[in-house]
């Protein structure tokens, strides 16, 4: 076998260069393995690097002996070692170096490192921040740092401060127009609790929510419009119908004028003249009565008609002036009840009605000339229903039997309620 000194200089230099390359590779592997926290592999690479360094050193000693003719005794012994031993060692170390580098690459693909975690959370659209119990922020991404700058006007250092600020509103709109919503939770980690604060990008949901809010407001206004329309439509339709009826009357009058003109020109018979006259009378009657369309007048007229039919006379000291349908409806029911009870139980011949109206309520008192009640009035049927209806509307009813029978009611107008007000106050 040839010793290292017996081989030619170029081959020895080539061996030295090979050892240098392998040494550099092993050092690089050491660095990568250290980052991956693989201590055994790191140690092996260190051994490889040391062995390579040793071979380089022996080669350099060989060169010194060849040039200067001197070297130390230990190096001379090493230079006597067979050349193949060095080649074999370098081959083994090189193989290990390649295997080690390949394992570094594979390990990187199959394992998550802290760097890859940082890199990945920086790519997230949401802002992420983890902080400890002492409020120290241990991990956060660029997005959360920007959000913190926008909200607190300071860099993200204190996680708790950001969390406190995030609690003030459910959604924050940032200067760039994006909207974020925060959520927080505690995570047990390595024996302690870690705070996780995430700022979700809710821009789309926020925009849709805002649009929905605007739409809902519009829908609410429309619904109120429909409700108001529903409340007034009956009167509007009635007015339209009255107008239409008036138009019909005027059309009828036009036709009658034409018919009269024709009758005058063509010497109509007596029967035809009588017919035309009757038509004129009918139209004139309707025109005379059409002015009387006030609601309260209808109520008074209806009650007078009913009184006439059931045989009692109504004496109106005053009549209601309100046009509130709800008030007039209650007044009509009360008068009807008073009228029927006066004829049925007291055999009265007249009923006096006093109406007093203030800004907020209508008060009416009914008295009759019938016989006095011998026992307290039992409220059943109509009277009981009337009391209930009045109570429901915020009004009330009072019955007095001495010195004469009196039925007194109070009906609040509009949204006013005067249920606690007494008649004598």
């Amino acid at each position: 076998m040839n010793s290292l000194l017996s081989i030619s200089v170029p081959i020895q230099n080539l061996l030295c260069f090979w050892a240098q390359l392998t040494c550099l590779g092993s050092i690089a592997n050491e660095f990568l393995l250290w980052r991956q926290h693989r201590h055994r592999a790191f140690f092996l690479s260190s051994v490889c690097a040391t062995l390579c360094f040793f071979i380089i050193h022996v080669c350099m000693e060989g060169t010194q002996l060849r040039v200067h003719g001197t070297t130390n005794g230990f190096a001379q012994k090493l230079l006597q070692w067979p050349f193949e031993v060095y080649v074999f060692c370098l081959l083994a170390v090189s193989t290990l170096c390649v295997i080690s580098y390949r394992s570094v690459l594979l390990w990187g693909k199959t394992h998550v490192t802290s760097a890859s975690i940082k890199e990945s959370i920086d790519e997230l659209p949401a802002g992420v921040c983890y902080y400890l119990e002492d409020n120290r922020c241990i991990l956060s991404n660029h997005r959360m740092k920007n959000i913190c700058l926008a909200l607190l006007k300071e860099p993200l250092q204190n996680g708790a401060a950001l969390y406190e600020a995030s609690k003030s509103k459910p959604v924050f709109v940032l200067p760039d127009g994006t909207a974020v919503s925060f959520r927080h939770r505690m995570i047990p980690f390595d024996g302690v609790f870690l705070h996780e604060l995430i700022a979700d990008d809710v821009t789309l949901a926020y925009q849709k929510n805002e649009q929905l809010r605007v739409d809902n407001e519009r829908a609410r206004r429309l619904q109120e419009g429909i409700k108001a329309y529903g409340e007034t439509i009956a009167d509007t339709v009635r007015e339209e119908e009255i107008l239409q009826a008036k138009v019909n009357i005027h059309d009828g009058m036009n036709r009658m004028i034409l018919a009269t003109k024709k009758a005058m020109q063509e010497s109509a018979t007596d029967d035809e003249r009588k017919g035309i006259l009757q038509m004129w009378q009918g139209q004139a009657l309707m025109l005379c009565k059409e002015a009387d369309t006030q609601k309260s007048n209808h109520v008074v007229t209806d009650l007078n008609t009913l009184a006439q039919v059931i045989g009692i006379k109504l004496r109106w000291n005053s009549i209601p002036q309100t046009s509130d349908s709800a008030v007039l409806s209650l007044f009509l029911s009360a008068t009807r009840e008073a009228m029927i009870n006066a004829t049925k139980h007291a055999h009265a011949t007249f009923l006096r009605i006093d109406v007093e109206e203030s800004k907020n309520a209508l008060r009416a008192t009914f008295t009759n000339d019938g016989r006095k009640a011998v026992s307290p009035i039992q409220e059943t049927g109509g009277l009981l229903n009337l009391r209930e209806r009045l109570k429901k509307s915020g009004g009330h009813m009072q019955i007095q039997t001495e010195p004469e029978f009196k039925l007194m009611i109070q009906i609040p107008e509009g949204e006013n309620h005067y249920g606690n007000e007494c008649f004598n106050c």
């Binding site: 429309l222 429909i226 329309y229 529903g230 009956a234 309707m286 009913l306 009509l332």
Partner: protein, 206 residues
Amino acid sequence: MATNVLIVEDQEMPRQLFEIFVRSDPRFSLVASISNASLAIDFCRNGGIDLILMDVMTELGSSGLDAAEEIKKAYPEIKIIIVTSMPEDSWLDRARRIGVDSFWYKEAQKEPILTVMARTMSGEKIYPNATPLVQIGCTNNHDFTKRELDILRELISGDSNAEIGERLGIEASTVKYHVQNMLEKTGMHTRTELAAMARSLGIVIK
């Protein structure tokens, strides 16, 4: 012997016309004419009423159909003719259900009211085949289904689909579907427009 007639009509013009018609025919005698349906039962209680001409929507919101139901229960021998100008579909059904004798549309029916009154008194029940045809947008009231009319009637209240659905016992999505159908049929753009138009034409009245 003349038939005693009670007229219940809140509008002055038609009331006067009915009065003139009744007075002009010796077969009928006018007992009274009033504007509020809730008082009609009191006239019947006093006796002497054979026939009532009853409007549906009367003074102070009193319903002629409610009054007719009450009268028919207490005095089934009294004949009642419902007179209205509104094409509200549900009124015809309700009138039949409560035993109203005849139903007459003020403007749409060709047969004179006096003829209808006479035929009713002779025991006939006279009902129109359908409500008057009313144009609404690109369609007419006869093109709506019963369910659509039910929803349209609730729409006027201004309530949401969910509230309407709850009242009718259907899903809010079903209400939405029917409203959309009606909008397509009429060519209207909003439910407000549809509800307002349907109510003002009297197609649905709540």
